[in-house]
Symmetry: C2
Subunit: 358 residues, 2 copies
Amino acid sequence: MATFSVAKVYFVVFFTTEVFATYVRVQRPGPDDCEPVVVAHRGSSGYVTEHTLGAYALAVTQGADYVEPDLVMTKDGHLIARHENQLEKSTDIAHRPEFADRYRSMSVLGFNITLGWFSEDFTLAEIKTLRTIEPMPLIRPGNTRMDGSMEVPTFQEIIDLVKGLEYSQNRTIGIYPELKSGAYFRSIGLPMEPAVVEIFHRNGYIGSQAPVYIQSFEANSLRILKKITDLRLLQLIGRVSAQENARMITPGGLKDIATYAHAVGPHKNHIIPRDFRNRLGRPTSLVIDAHDAGLKVHPYTFRAENAYLPVEFRSKDPADSALGNLDGELEAYLATGIDGLFIDQPDYLVRLKSRFCN
Amino acid sequence: MATFSVAKVYFVVFFTTEVFATYVRVQRPGPDDCEPVVVAHRGSSGYVTEHTLGAYALAVTQGADYVEPDLVMTKDGHLIARHENQLEKSTDIAHRPEFADRYRSMSVLGFNITLGWFSEDFTLAEIKTLRTIEPMPLIRPGNTRMDGSMEVPTFQEIIDLVKGLEYSQNRTIGIYPELKSGAYFRSIGLPMEPAVVEIFHRNGYIGSQAPVYIQSFEANSLRILKKITDLRLLQLIGRVSAQENARMITPGGLKDIATYAHAVGPHKNHIIPRDFRNRLGRPTSLVIDAHDAGLKVHPYTFRAENAYLPVEFRSKDPADSALGNLDGELEAYLATGIDGLFIDQPDYLVRLKSRFCN
């Protein structure tokens, strides 16, 4: 039971937050104060099951600038944090007999037929009965120890967590959501773009100075967002195999992106391609071209496990799950002039930054 | 509920201060509302490096009622969270050339001569340059992935974290510090008892209704605390080998403890001894005797790894680090009527409690 004194402290905290909001905004360090910004990809997902409040909280206490939730929609229109709408990849739904009859096939916009359980078939109340599991158990066996221990968080719960941690950390913490499958969710009558803008605006995140980026691989989603909010937008760019991505990384493509977005999030191979031996090659002109177009550049995804590292930075232990020399890869990328990056072990970049940021 | 407005909470608080204080006191769930209380031992130390803000934050997001920091003192009188004053067990100090000359021998009150680096030889500013490591790497290899990533937190930082998370979790979260080596720190002019009381009182934790327990193995420390605070106290009781502990667990010993403490924290073997095969035996009368003396009973320490489990609850995988059937051990202990327990994987008990607590 809360005591009077605890409640009183709370009163002071809330009071301060509201009345001196401007003061705090001016004085308190923000997530963009020292680049490259550290975007904790799915939380500190290298250490705690991704897309859980625990993973986001750990990321903040480790010093990340932004927490990054991927978002999908529930049947009743709530934004929840999952990497995809297919729930069995990261929850225990496959072991819930009460939901067995919701297993079905799904096709995204007429192709990519998949079997599974999908977020849009479940209410938030139903989602809240699920428990999370580690989606990459072979790469991250340490995380499987937490299987079954945490809920799927709503976007609002993540915002609440960030606001609470801003108090204890005495700094402004950014939020960096990705809309997953925007076109698909629009096609089934669950548009994500107005939902994410509404929740940000309602929570006081307004304008291009707010500590927010909204990201998507889909230019159409971003164009819709551009019409209804001034929050900063980031265009994600996939691997070069698709023609659309190849066009996006040209100087002309980047100028086009700059008409609706503040930043680009290219796959890291667009910035430093790998050679035939899977070693880092020579940087491309992408960072310079993007900067010329007025765009920030935040590549994805940096991970400490061997499986994701260029050969020259892998550890002697040949296991995919072994931790290699992520610092080496990060230093190569920082030399290209990038403005931030998505990372599963944000502490590595926090530590590197501590050499030149206060 | 995802649609609750943070901005609106600020607004309400701003204009209805006293009403809000009452509302919080009455409405918000507290750590003692549903027993047995879940004390997150050193944080969620089964999953994240113990005694770090990340470990405490994860514990709270997993639903723990209390977070449990062990406390020792710095040279300049700050309380920091470490299991012992010997710093090389849980930090990277052994690899810091700048501190090499502080390596020394130490004797606690004239015996137990040890070699190492000790918290009382370092200022807080120096401690803050250290980074934490997992002290049980063979049992918790998954935690070693975070070695070097986090700071040693101060007690004030832990209180701030808890207050921030109380906001996002909308519940009152308890704090359950243990004073380590109270007599020793008094003997070198760094008394912990007034320091911990001062910091609790200054932060609004006052009286026996506050969501706090202060614990110690040393009755003298608790008797000193009893004179200067009404916060609840818990007498820890070590294994039976020592005569003093054998006396403490008798009905007479418990009545004596009840003159200065609200609760006892016995080693779990005092409640259910293990037989010669290392299996659980028959419960003793300790819980009943303690309740008769008016004391709550919070045994320590429950851990999911094989190394710590009774034989019948170990997993088929014979590794010490393998996760066994902690639920089985917990159920045996819950049947004895205990009021709470210390646990390294708080999610297990949270999950069991969800069957009968809201």
